[in-house]
Amino acid sequence: MARKEMQEINAGSMADIAFLLLIFFLVTTTMDVDTGISRKLPPPLRGDEEPPDINERYIFTVLVNSRDNLLIEGKPGDIRGLKDQAKEFMSNPTGRDDLPEMELKNIPGLGNVRVPKKSAVISLKNDRGTSYKMYIAVQNELAAAIDDLRNDLAMEKFGKKYTELISEDQMNAIQKAIPVPISEAEPEDVGEN
């Protein structure tokens, strides 16, 4: 005959086992989130394509040489001023004739917005000897310029910063008005030591 009363299992060590597992997961877990600057690479050249004919005023060239010096629009530049220069290029507030010609364009969801007549391009080119952190700093400053302009536009149209927008449509409209126009030049094998 089976015993009438089930014997109770000693659960006192349960806590110890759970602690052991807990400590294992505490140690192996990585809480850091991956962050970074997202970019899209252009498809490879087929070789027979003519370079597109873009007016000089619609291109903003940034060159970074192997000594991490900048050449912005043909003049030696500094990383500290890059953001403002890029912003000026993309918005052309004073209507300079060497910067993109602006026009009012109706964008669905935003109404009339001042945008470049043709698509303006920021052309970024680096040497093989450019340090990676300088390259990222330049990318970062250009991204900051775009972000600033988007924030201004979102503030004007929706009364919120671009990063605080919730509606997908609003974000897409802003992205349409101010795209990320960074184009990287075909690399040349120079400048590595």
Partner: protein, 160 residues
């Protein structure tokens, strides 16, 4: 001989610990669910550069990683920056097959969302990164992400 006094109750009462395992189990489940196992063992040193305009990398299961930096064991492998793919050193020419295998490991519907995260040491030169980017372009992996650390403000004086 001193004698311990019996019978007098001490002021501290015993705490009931029978619910302790439950609490621990709750914590355990939390960590089990949130944990992400380290994907590879790094054999190159990587100190990502700093940036302010960073985005979070969403959907980690759709991210494949390429590590570039100086080898950790300098005595054995030298100081020239090397590429690491899945636990081992690789050459630039290995990247197309890496991209293909990463693509095949994912669901067909998700393949166009695969992002390649470049985890690159801030102090190396762009040459090897440019080569990797050219290979990625040729293999059709256009979405990339330069891994950076978020800082509130960029310190330009550290750059030159």
């Amino acid at each position: 001989m001193a004698r311990f006094k019996k019978g007098k109750k001490s002021g501290v009462q015993k705490i009931n610990t029978s619910s302790l395992p439950d609490i621990i189990f709750m914590l355990l489940f939390f960590f089990m669910v949130t944990t992400v196992m380290r994907e590879v063992t790094l054999i190159v040193t990587i100190k990502p550069p700093e940036a302010t305009e960073v985005q979070k990398l969403e959907r980690k299961s759709l991210v494949s990683y390429i590590y570039i930096g100086e080898p950790k064991r300098v005595a054995l492998y030298g100081t020239k920056p090397r590429i690491q793919l899945n636990d081992q050193f690789a050459r630039v020419s290995d990247i197309p097959s890496f991209v293909t295998s990463e693509r095949q490991a994912r669901d067909e519907a998700d393949r166009k969302f695969i992002t390649t995260s470049l985890k690159v040491d801030g102090n190396i030169q762009m040459g090897i990164v440019t080569d990797v980017k050219q290979e990625l372009r040729k293999s059709g992996a256009f979405k990339i992400n330069y891994s950076t650390r978020k800082v509130p403000k960029l310190d330009f004086s550290k750059l030159n």
